[in-house]
């Protein structure tokens, strides 16, 4: 099909279309990337500690090693427990070194006794059943299934995900209405062209195709710019070293996420083209 340069050129409108698609695509990608990274965090937090419980007792003085051994063997008989292991004082000290320092004062600090439990998360063992059996051997032991302290960050991550997805929906709605308005404005400007083409024997489909080319080009250029902007921001954000804050794990995106994010500029371009095409088509369709 030879393309007929029928459309009135409107530089300001073309520039606006490019700008709007660039911004919409950049915002969508950033918001979705953020939601994906938070999702990984949330899943990781929930899984990483789901099979690790800890039993904690005040200090070693009151506790006889035999009692500990007895407690361990009882714990191992509980269904769902894969392994129970005493964390030695040396191990504990090593774990705490970065927090307490290695000086003499720290060395004298009484450390609690910790038993590391490896449980099977699928077996649905309840902590209440546990406490019951445990209190028989180790009356002053406390069970920590870590859920209490992962609950808050997990909830924050999940709220972030929901927030990101709502924001994305809002962006999509805004983008759609902007695209539709731009398409209608463009047709209003070119109304006499459309009527003339129709009169000269152009089919509805031909007219629609003529009026999709420019929106396609603006959307494609804008989407590329938007994708480049967001990619730059994501790469820079990925370089920021979060390991200084030990509780915050590194945010990351998987290859699947990236493929999914690449669909945003492609989808945006196709959507803009489709809307422009359908608007022109419906106008042509109304002519006799």
């Amino acid at each position: 099909m030879t393309r007929i340069p029928i459309q009135n050129e409107n530089r300001a409108m073309t520039a606006l279309s490019v700008f709007v698609s660039a911004m919409m695509v950049a915002l969508s990608i950033l918001v979705l990337a953020g939601a994906a990274a938070l999702h990984h965090l949330d899943v990781e937090w929930r899984h990483a500690l789901a099979d690790r419980w800890t039993i904690e007792m005040e200090s070693s003085d009151t506790l006889h090693p035999v009692d500990v051994e007895k407690a361990l063997s009882i714990l191992r008989t509980i269904p769902g427990v894969i392994d129970a292991r005493l964390i030695t004082q040396d191990e504990l000290r090593r774990l705490l070194d970065p927090w307490l320092g290695v000086d003499a004062l720290a060395a004298e600090l009484p450390l609690p006794i910790l038993i590391d439990l490896h449980v099977s998360p699928t077996d649905q063992i309840t902590s209440s059943l546990f406490s019951e059996r445990l209190s028989a051997v180790l009356p002053n032991a406390k069970l920590d299934d870590h859920e209490s302290w992962t609950r808050i960050p997990v909830r924050i991550a999940q709220t972030g995900e929901v927030f990101g997805l709502s924001l994305f929906s809002a962006i999509i709605l805004t983008a759609l209405s902007t695209i539709a308005a731009a398409a209608r404005a463009r047709l209003a400007i070119n109304r006499s062209e459309i009527e003339l083409l129709h009169t000269l024997g152009a089919s509805d489909g031909y007219i629609a195709r003529q009026f999709q080319t420019d929106p396609f080009r603006s959307a494609a250029v804008g989407s590329l710019i938007g994708a480049a902007i967001s990619a730059t921001i994501i790469v820079i954000a990925g370089r920021v070293d979060l390991s200084i804050a030990p509780m915050i794990p590194q945010l990351y995106l998987t290859a699947k996420d990236v493929a999914f994010l690449l669909a945003v500029p492609i989808g945006a371009t196709l959507l803009a083209t489709l809307v422009a095409r359908m608007t022109a088509y419906s106008l042509a369709r109304r002519l006799p």
Partner: protein
């Protein structure tokens, strides 16, 4: 080529403005369509261009029953009909050349052949030198010549012209009329709606006169005396 049989037409729920129109337009004929303002000349022409359908009666154009015609078929049929409007309807952001090339590009003509045909037709209407300017730079008469060139560049079998001399002076009007006569000699059926009596009288052709919604055929010999 065109056959009206007891055709009536009304706009929406308004009164019927054309009653029992029965007329046959032969291929290669030449007709003036006359009548006072508001008689329905433009309406009748638009029916011949598939822009309006009769509200009753039977209309057949180039062998197609208009009432039964599928929408997908009309673009192809329209391309076989050239049309000239009183207000030219040229696209100002395109050059004269591109305006005239429009029908050929719509028909998917190759650029090489198209270029030759457009150049030839523009020379024929006397605008060979103005090919690459914008229609805005032309006088009203010249613009009408561009519109005529666009209407005939696809070598249509039928040419419809609605008041083609309405916005040009008599000298240009006569030139425009000669172009139409030349086309007619080359075999195109021509229908010209006009109420420019001065001009009509100088060209001996059958008149189709619209009076009170009825169409009367006035043969040449008779028409010249009016």
């Amino acid at each position: 080529m065109i056959s009206f049989d007891k055709v009536g037409f009304q706009y929406g729920v308004g009164p019927e403005i054309l009653h029992d129109i029965s007329v046959t337009i032969e291929a290669g004929s030449f007709h003036f369509l006359t009548g006072p303002s508001g008689a329905g000349k433009s309406t009748l022409l638009s029916m011949m261009h598939f822009d309006r359908r009769p509200t009753r009666g039977f209309l057949s154009i180039m062998g197609e029953n208009v009432a039964m015609l599928a929408r997908a078929k009309t673009p192809l049929l329209r391309r076989k009909i050239g049309i000239v409007f009183q207000d030219f309807r040229l696209l100002e952001h395109l050059s004269v050349f591109d305006n005239v090339a429009l029908p050929l590009r719509l028909a998917g003509e190759k650029e090489r052949i198209l270029s030759r045909n457009v150049t030839e037709i523009l020379e024929w209407v006397g605008l060979g030198k103005a090919m690459h300017v914008s229609p805005r730079a032309l006088s009203g008469g010249e613009q009408q010549c561009v519109a005529i060139a666009r209407a005939v560049v696809g070598r249509p079998g039928l040419l419809l012209a609605d008041e083609p001399t309405g916005s040009v002076d008599d000298v240009i009007g006569q030139r425009v009329m000669r172009l139409f006569e030349e086309l007619h000699r080359l075999g195109t059926a021509v229908i010209i709606a006009s109420h420019n009596e001065n001009l009509i009288r100088r060209f001996p052709h059958t008149r189709l006169e619209l009076m009170d919604g009825h169409l009367v055929r006035i043969p040449v010999e008779f028409g010249m005396k009016l």
